[in-house]
């Protein structure tokens, strides 16, 4: 692996560059020794511009003086707070700084665009995600538990025997079962279609059936069914070129998460972490 692609190293290089840039261009606005606090022209201009953005006009003299006074007050109190060490172990500040570091890490992935090979690899290992769905055509006969009660399952089994034995008579399937309000024949349904029509349990069973014979009884949220799976049209293999854009999106999300994890893990590895939670009592959670 290319050393330059190592996220942690990149992070330190980036951090170093930012510091260097800051140290050379940032104007001194304060000198701790003499307690002087300089509000330079650039700063005032920045205040004026953000006012203008906010209100669509320049500030008046009074408004600008107010902005400056507010800034000075904030700086003075801030400096004193730092001197008094108030920034140490403050939950809000700690969280804010932690978040800033996370942000920097998150952006790293943008600097490492993937090559085609990397995407191809990702595509190969996650091929199932890009595959279209198979299509299932089937007929079902419904046995209504509201009408048949305890006999429902037995009735369905008997009808199945009848169907399996009859090899000469063309039967109207509705005579065998009960009226089912939507449909008896379903053509070229995706598993999702079947799930929407009959619920997930029924779908799981039906897509695992062997085509070409009456099967069941199969249970659904409605009752009991016999199913004849006529045919399965399997989905074509996905082609990389066609789904490349989706692969890139998924890869980026995957990589970002991975980098965040690795980055945190490496930082964490620099610490010996000791947790002394002694006898703190906790609530048992069911799930």
């Amino acid at each position: 692996m290319n050393l330059l692609r190592e996220p942690l190293l990149q992070f330190f290089i980036l951090g170093g560059l930012i510091y260097l840039a800051y140290a050379t261009v940032a104007p001194e606005t304060q000198e701790d020794k003499s307690q002087s606090l300089i509000v330079n022209a650039a700063k005032v201009q920045w205040m004026q511009e953000s006012w203008k953005k906010r209100w669509n006009r320049l500030p008046t003299r009074r408004e600008l003086d107010g902005l400056i006074a507010q800034y000075v007050k904030e700086r003075v109190l801030y400096n004193e707070a730092i001197k008094m060490g108030l920034d140490k172990d403050d939950t809000l500040i700690r969280r804010q700084l932690a978040k800033k570091v996370e942000f920097l890490a998150k952006d790293l992935v943008v600097y490492i665009p993937p090559n085609d090979e990397e995407l191809q690899n990702y595509f190969q290992t996650h091929k199932e995600d890009y595959k279209g769905e198979a299509l299932y055509s089937f007929t079902q006969i419904f046995f209504d538990p509201d009408k048949r009660g305890r006999d429902t399952l037995e009735d369905a089994k008997k009808s199945k025997e009848q169907l399996l034995q009859s090899n000469s008579i063309l039967q109207d399937t509705s005579k065998l079962g009960d009226v089912f309000m939507t449909d008896s024949y379903f053509e070229a349904n995706t598993p999702l279609d079947i799930r929407k029509n009959f619920g997930s349990g029924f779908m799981q069973t039906v897509i695992a059936l062997e085509p070409g014979k009456w099967q069941g009884p199969i249970l659904s949220g409605f009752g009991v069914h016999l199913v004849y799976l006529k045919e399965i049209i399997s989905a074509p293999e996905p082609e990389f070129e066609k789904v490349k854009e989706n692969v890139l999106q998924d890869w980026t999300r995957f990589k970002q998460e991975q980098i965040n994890q690795e980055f945190y893990q490496k930082l964490k590895d620099n610490y010996v972490i000791i947790i002394e939670d002694g006898n703190v009592s906790v609530l048992d959670q069911a799930s």
């Binding site: 953000s50 109207d172 939507t182 619920g199 029924f202 409605f222 799930s287």
Partner: protein, 614 residues
Amino acid sequence: MNSSTLGLISIVSALLLSTSCFADSLGEPGRSVAKANPLKNVYFGEEHLHTQASPDSFAVGNRGTWDDAYNYAKGKEVKLSTTGMKMKKKTPYDFVSITDHAEYFGVMPRLIDPEDALSKSSFAQELAHPTKKPSDPTSAINTILGSIITSTAMPEYVKPKLIQENWAKYVKVANKHNNPGKFTTLIGFEWTSIPNGRNMHRNVFWRGNGPKAPFSAFDSIFPEDLWTYQEVQRNEGHENLAIPHNGNVSDGWMYAKNKFLGGPIDARYAKRQARNEPLTEIIQVKGASETHPIFSPNDEFADFELFTNMINVGMPSQLKYGYIRQGLVEGMIIENETGYNPYKYGIAAGSDSHSAHSNNEEFNMPGGAHGKLDDTVKKRLDPAVTASGDVNAAVGSSGVTAVWAPENTREAIFDAMKAKETYGTSGTMIRLRFFGGWDFPKNLVDDKNFVKMAYANGVPMGQDLPKKGSAKAPTFAVWALKDPESGNLDRIQIIKGFINKWGRADEKIYNVALSDNRKVDPKTGKAPAVGNSVNLKTATYTNDIGDTQLSAVWTDPDFNAEQKAVYYVRVLEIPTPRWSTYDAVRNNLPLSAHVPSTIQERAWSSPIWYAPSK
């Protein structure tokens, strides 16, 4: 393969061919059939949903995106943005409309995106890294929210160019997920007029890609101005419709006798309202707006998912003119005076979730509806009262819009909404057909050609009855099939609204189909309760009560040909655990004492109207 198996195959395929023709006549063949079904399929979806592009959703900490919301609706696993919890919808939707607030549409996420130029301002910096507490009225987030409530926009965040840019981004993402025949994304936004806490909100939907920019409450808080915008856009070729919602928290303004700016509703006002607002929303997480027990003392199911305080105001919302059942009749009273019915509403329902995922599934309500305010079980079951004057658990797990359309495309679903061939549910996916006519045979619903015959000789939900013939009273055909993932059906009711002899809104409820061979008491018109199989210790129920499917052909026994009337269907499920009960049991917590432990999920059809011929 020997000749006898070949013979069998040919027999079976002949058999399949014959059942296939038979199926077609029933309507609703397999949904992936490529050609449109003239007898229509039902499609379930969401018409009210917010992401981080809505300022209030952003304010409560939601960072869920448009992609997240679409992916969840499609049944993909997504992470709740606030806690990272993984969640997945049990039954994916057929269509979804994300309806972010038009006010500062899409602006908030850009303010905290370090790569966006908008993030450089001091205001954006304060928003991204707040120094003030969120409760501080001058905090960045409260400045934003306050400006919406008072309709005084921060000028830099409503610049047309900015809003157009954000809107175009949304349309692009919506179009990426739109997959004709399989999954529809309907373009929409929410117009958020809320003068003095009175909810006058409308969601606006587009047949195509829609306009250049949404219309916001900063542009105007008056419904008449929204209608003008809709009419102008329509003339430009952008067909659209609006759905008003939450009459229950409108302080009695949503279905009132008066115009929004005062004075009784006149012909022009009524006509414009009817033209621009074909549907209204009957339920969402912040309560049902069907009716209130005060107006419906004889309706034992009226006390359902009520949410009666104005949002974030905490004061009771005026009940009168806030509910649809009475509003439908008020509309007919206004029609008698002006010639037009402003409240000739079909029915829709949605979630109004602000956490970027629909939450209609009572048994699978994973992430609350309001960002960080209710994203954990502990927060949801907290007995403390919120700014809206009720506990978090009073928020519901609702609702679904179902449409009958020939195919699952943006245009077909929009057209079905415009035609009011829709119904709403409290979250379940009951299938419901409802037709009205004058000479339906008694056994119509048992006929193989039921749907075909009903369309040929009557009208579907959402329309006026055909002209009265020689028949003395209208007949209605209704069937319902349960949601395979939910409870059995308890009953089908037809609810009739009419103007009584004193000129007031009146109602009557008929139990037209009952499960388990129960009978209506002829004296009271009531039916015995279906029972209750819920085990509150385990949050489970059994389907040994109730029926899988119910149907009826019913003739109005109290019909008065001189009297205007409106009829709609309500289908009830057997009691099942409420989401708050699932939450508590799964986490070993006590049940909330503030809300019912069980719920009878239900569906409400769009009405069918009768008017005497002049």
